[in-house]
Amino acid sequence: MSSEHPFAFLSPAAATGAELRTPMERNHLAAGATLQQRDGWRVAEYQPRDEPPAWIADLSHHGKLDVRGSAGWIDELTGTLELGRANSTSGVWTLRLSPTHAIVLCSFDRTAELAARIGDGVTDMTCGWAAIVLGGEAARDVFMRSSSLDVREQRFPSGACMAGSVMRCPSIVLNDEGRFWVLCGWELGEYMWEALQDAGLNIGIAPVSATVALPAAEVAA
């Protein structure tokens, strides 16, 4: 048995010999996107365009860490975040889902470093959750066609997060300044991508590059 962490094989970061693919790769190609290498991933690049009323971006290559531990330890880790709240520092999102459960979202190249810093109780879920971001002025309208979760501004403001059903799939939702992150099982990613686009069809939803979904500072971070 290797002396390294027994579950290191969960992390794609060490998969240096492979081109990593998101679940929606064929959807991107069918929609005319090109695939570009980024940190070992094949990331979809769409032609720049005027911002549509609603857009959808594939951020599945983003790093995702699942953190579990005692409430005190999670308190310490998250800076005593309230339940259902998230904060962002230097492009790293920390979501508090329950007293003993938090999630960290970061750029892929920081996953290993952050996982090591957190230590025990962390599971690299980068390949566990597909990440889709809904944005644009009508993002909330698209979401309302996809889930019964209440995402009105007064109930689910920026920096709020929750677990619930989106398109009948168990999901984690984050309001990132009006952009909605939807994390769902990797195996459901392609379905979710298609279903969200279908929900936004009448609204004029369009797929965009991942860079549109993240502020430049976060991409660089």
Binding site: E4, A14, W186
Partner: protein, 911 residues
């Protein structure tokens, strides 16, 4: 016929400058923007819109408010559309729904004519069509063709897009009348987010057609709601109120699923028809219906009107019609003490104490006979306006969990207890002013006196049901279908109660008659709207598209899509035996169990031991329920002192995660359970050449000495860190490779390439099932059921009753052990080459049931049919001959065996 309208007036809904063309019965028709189908056709002379449900009587506009069934038509292939509230659209095609061959000449009308002699009163088909029994399919076809509210075209395909939106609001107001507008404005002004839903074409309810002062009030309210920011959905209707105040609202092609914090019911009241002979003739119209036509669509509904009424609404209608220039011959008011002076001041004859006996006319109304104290008077008219007062609209209250009670003063049912979050305002909450008098019982006549317009139920039908013993409204509903139609009793519930009360000699106020349940949908609603966009989550593995692109026949396997085979299941199975095969097993459930108590936790979860496992080893395990039944199986690999990697069945991942989490909470152990099913792809490379092929992609020592059977190791394969388990479900040397899903397609392609020299074949579910059967490996849920325990399921070796710790299912299994086995899960091999179907029975010599086949396949490798079966213990001895029943009636001889059919000693697995 030309479109005939009255002079333009403030408040009319039509835009005379914008003409809209459509077709009616295939012929060109037109109206103005703002017209409904009903108003546009009525303005051009159409008086018959439909035929009644059962007797195919002519029906014309009656309520003009979408409550009655008289104007249901087919629009662009969609049946049961309410013409009186559906706006016309350019190019729409409107047709009648239930007449043959045409609406004007409907042969099925003879049903009604034959009624007295043919005995087609209520329940006739129960009594008439039971002989001869074999003729029922023919009767059924005839009856179904004769009745109904249109037909669905089986060839029709959805051509339009329907949508579904989830809405959360602080306040949802149903009803845009005066009370609804007031409530909405008030809530919005207090800072709440408010949506108001109204099914009419104009806000305001009765304010919209009740004169200048009402108009001014309406304008003020409209301005108020607008300034307060109330969202208005119109025309839109609430389909019902469900648990938790879930309210589906249908607007055009969109279903809004509202979950309001507060639901305000402002549905007002519903005007009731009167019961008299021929009260369903075209030209007989409710007072509010006639007023809508006059005031909103500027249509004079007739040339000479007579009003029969038991309430002030009839008087108001008479004055309105007269004001519009119509000749109103008389108002017959069944009340003897009402004030008719306003009517007389308008020059209209007022007949106090007169009630309608029967309308005259065959195809349309030509007059009415009214009666008082046995004296009849005949009045000529081509419009007979009736008003039986109104009832509160309480359907949504009861659907939402509230209750209603009869209020003797108001003579109507009013809200009683309301569920949390529901409020009722306006006439829906009760209104003595609008109640009017409860009409006297209907005088006897030979003509049909329709009580339920939806279902064609008459007073005679209800009387018959009472005579036959159905002596309550609820029972009469079931026997006659009164209140069961599209209006769910809104137009007939009160009158049905009155008729029953009269016949049974009960309180005339219907207090003791009770109410029936008004169920959703509130109005006819298309399946397309209910279905809207489909949600059918599909789980795809990381190599899903590779399979599909390489001939994989993808099928549903639980929530997943998996390849059944790649075109030739037999050769795929043969490749695994002879050389090399690769199967995608990413669907397996995968759990991390870690923490200081991980070993102790697994000891309690499983009947077998895991605390004594050495590192880097894998062990098979089953999970039992409290009752000792097998609920799942899989493998457990120990990766460190306190870290285990657990696999479950494909369908069991979620359930096992919950099961583990539940027990961890109960036992309060220091264990973390993380479901990593989504995170990892898993492939099984199997066959005699598996080691050689895999060695091309890794430096990991795969030799039997370094990595023996049931070993677990970390290996970098094709540049990807993997966990490799040396296990074999398919009976050959095999490696189950677990790796990050994002690298799944890459590793799969590399494995296929590495296996090319060995003619590797991808294999699907079907060859896998044959291969596992050859090894007699069971599939939990197929070979076992909810009553299967490990002792009977040929797995006594897995049960460690001597474990120190308690474990789930222990007491039940100890009991099973004391009791002794009754059944046994055994293998069987066929004697005549025939392959019985799975699920068929094992039978005794006399044909009696003696077990069942759970798995059955033909093994080309072995040249015979093989399988697994449950049989009684007495028949479970090795070599016992059994008979398997074939659906054709023949029997298939077979022999019981306990050892695997292929490689019984596992030499190939361990090679």
């Amino acid at each position: 016929m030309a479109d005939e309208r009255m002079a333009s007036r403030t408040g009319e809904l039509i835009d005379r400058s914008d003409q809209v063309s459509f077709t009616w019965e295939g012929e060109p028709a037109s109206g103005f923007k703002g017209d409904t189908i009903g108003s546009a056709l009525f303005a051009r002379g159409t008086r018959v819109f439909s035929r009644s449900f059962k007797y195919h009587r002519r029906r014309g506009l009656m309520c003009c408010a979408g409550q009655c069934p008289n104007c249901l038509v087919e629009v662009d292939g969609v049946p049961a559309v309410r013409a009186c509230v559906t706006p016309i659209e350019e190019g729409m095609s409107v047709r009648h729904i239930n007449a043959w061959p045409s609406l004007q000449r409907d042969f099925l009308h003879l049903v009604g004519r034959l009624t007295p002699s043919f005995g087609m009163q209520v329940g006739f088909y129960y009594k008439t069509f039971i002989h001869p029994r074999r003729a029922w399919p023919l009767y059924e076809k005839l009856l179904r063709n004769a009745a109904g509210l249109g037909r669905l075209d089986p060839e029709h395909r959805r051509t339009e897009r329907f949508d579904k939106v989830h809405r959360h609001v602080d306040v949802l107001v149903i009803g845009g009348g005066e009370a609804g507008l007031e409530a909405a404005a008030e809530a919005a002004e207090s800072g709440k987010q408010v949506t108001l839903v109204d099914e009419g074409l104009a806000l305001g309810g009765q304010l919209a057609w009740s004169g200048p002062s009402a108009r001014a009030r309406l304008d003020a309210l409209r301005e108020r709601v607008s300034e307060a920011g109330v969202e208005i959905l119109q025309p839109a209707y609430a389909g019902g109120v469900y648990e938790g105040l879930l309210v589906p609202v249908y607007q055009g092609r969109t279903m809004h699923r509202f979950r309001p914090a507060e639901l305000v019911i402002a549905t007002g009241s519903i005007e009731q028809p009167l019961v008299f002979g021929n009260n369903d003739l075209p030209g007989v119209m409710l007072a509010t219906g006639a007023r809508r036509l006059v005031n909103q669509f500027r249509i004079m509904p007739g040339e000479q009107a007579v009003v029969v009424t038991s309430s002030d609404e009839g008087i108001a209608a008479a004055l309105d019609l007269a004001d519009g220039g119509m000749n109103v011959a008389a108002v017959a008011d069944s009340r003897r003490d009402a004030d008719g002076s306003r009517v007389e001041d308008a020059g209209i004859e007022y007949l106090a104490g007169y009630q309608p006996w029967q309308a005259k006319g065959s195809k349309a109304v030509s007059g009415v006979v009214v009666t008082r104290d046995g004296k009849h008077r005949t009045l000529d008219c081509d419009l007979l306006v009736m008003s039986g007062g109104s009832v509160s609209h309480t359907s949504f209250i009861t659907q939402g969990g509230g209750s209603i009670r009869y209020d003797r003063d108001q003579r109507r049912y009013v809200p009683d207890a309301l569920p949390p979050g529901m409020r009722v305002v306006g006439a829906a909450a009760g209104s003595a002013a609008a109640a009017g008098a409860v009409p006297a019982s209907a005088p006897k006549t030979m003509c049909k006196q329709v009580v339920c317009f939806c279902e064609d139920v008459t007073t005679k039908d209800i009387a018959l049901s009472l005579d036959e013993g159905f002596r309550s409204l609820e029972l009469a509903k079931r026997y006659t279908t009164v209140t069961m139609g599209p209006c769910q009793g809104r137009m007939c519930h009160r009158n049905a109660g009155l008729v029953i009360a009269d016949k049974l000699g009960l309180d005339a106020d219907a207090e003791r008659v009770g109410v029936t349940t008004a169920r959703p949908p509130h109005h006819p609603t298309s399946f397309s709207l209910l279905a809207a966009r489909g949600y059918e989550p599909v789980k795809r593995t990381s190599t899903h598209h590779w399979h599909a692109e390489h001939g994989g026949k993808m099928l549903w396997a639980g929530d997943w899509k998996r390849p059944y085979d790649y075109g030739d299941a037999d050769s795929e199975a043969a490749a695994v035996h002879a050389s090399l095969g690769l199967i995608d097993v990413s669907t397996l459930g995968k759990l991390i169990v870690r923490g200081p108590d991980a070993a102790a936790f697994l000891e309690r979860i499983y009947p077998n031991r895991f605390g004594d496992m050495k590192l880097a080893r894998v062990r098979y395990g089953i999970v039992c329920g409290d009752d000792g039944s097998i609920v799942d199986d899989g493998t457990v690999a120990r990766l460190s002192e306190h870290e285990y990697y657990v696999t479950t069945t494909s369908s069991g991942a979620g359930g096992m995660e919950q099961w583990f989490t539940w027990w961890n909470a109960v036992w309060k152990m220091d264990v973390q359970i993380v479901n990593v099913t989504s995170t990892l792809a898993a492939f099984n490379l199997a066959g005699p050449n598996a080691r050689t092929a895999l060695a091309k992609l890794t430096e990991f020592d795969l030799s039997n000495e370094a990595f023996p059977y049931l070993g677990a190791g970390h290996a970098t394969i094709a540049g990807v860190p993997c966990l490799v388990l040396r296990i074999g479900f398919v009976g050959e040397l095999g490696y189950e490779i677990h790796l990050p899903t994002a690298a799944g397609e890459h590793v799969w392609e590399q494995l296929m390439e590495a296996g090319e020299e060995f003619r590797v074949k991808p294999f699907g579910l079907e060859p896998q099932r044959v291969l596992r059967l050859e090894k007699m490996h069971v599939i939990i849920g197929q070979d076992t059921n909810a009553e299967s325990n490990p002792l009977e399921a040929a797995m006594p070796w897995i049960v460690k009753l001597d474990k120190e710790s308690d474990w789930i299912g222990r007491y039940a299994i100890e009991w099973y052990k004391q009791r002794g086995n009754r059944l046994a899960l055994v293998g069987w091999e066929g004697g005549n080459g025939k392959v019985p179907k799975e699920g068929t029975q094992v039978v005794g010599a006399g044909g009696e049931p003696a077990g069942r086949i759970t798995s059955s396949r033909y093994s080309h490798r072995l040249g015979k049919a093989i399988g697994i079966a449950w049989v009684p213990v007495a028949q479970a001895e090795e070599g016992t001959a059994i008979l398997i029943s074939d659906p054709s009636g023949a029997t298939i001889p077979a022999t019981i065996t306990h050892r695997p059919f292929y490689d019984p000693d596992g030499e190939r697995l361990r090679s």
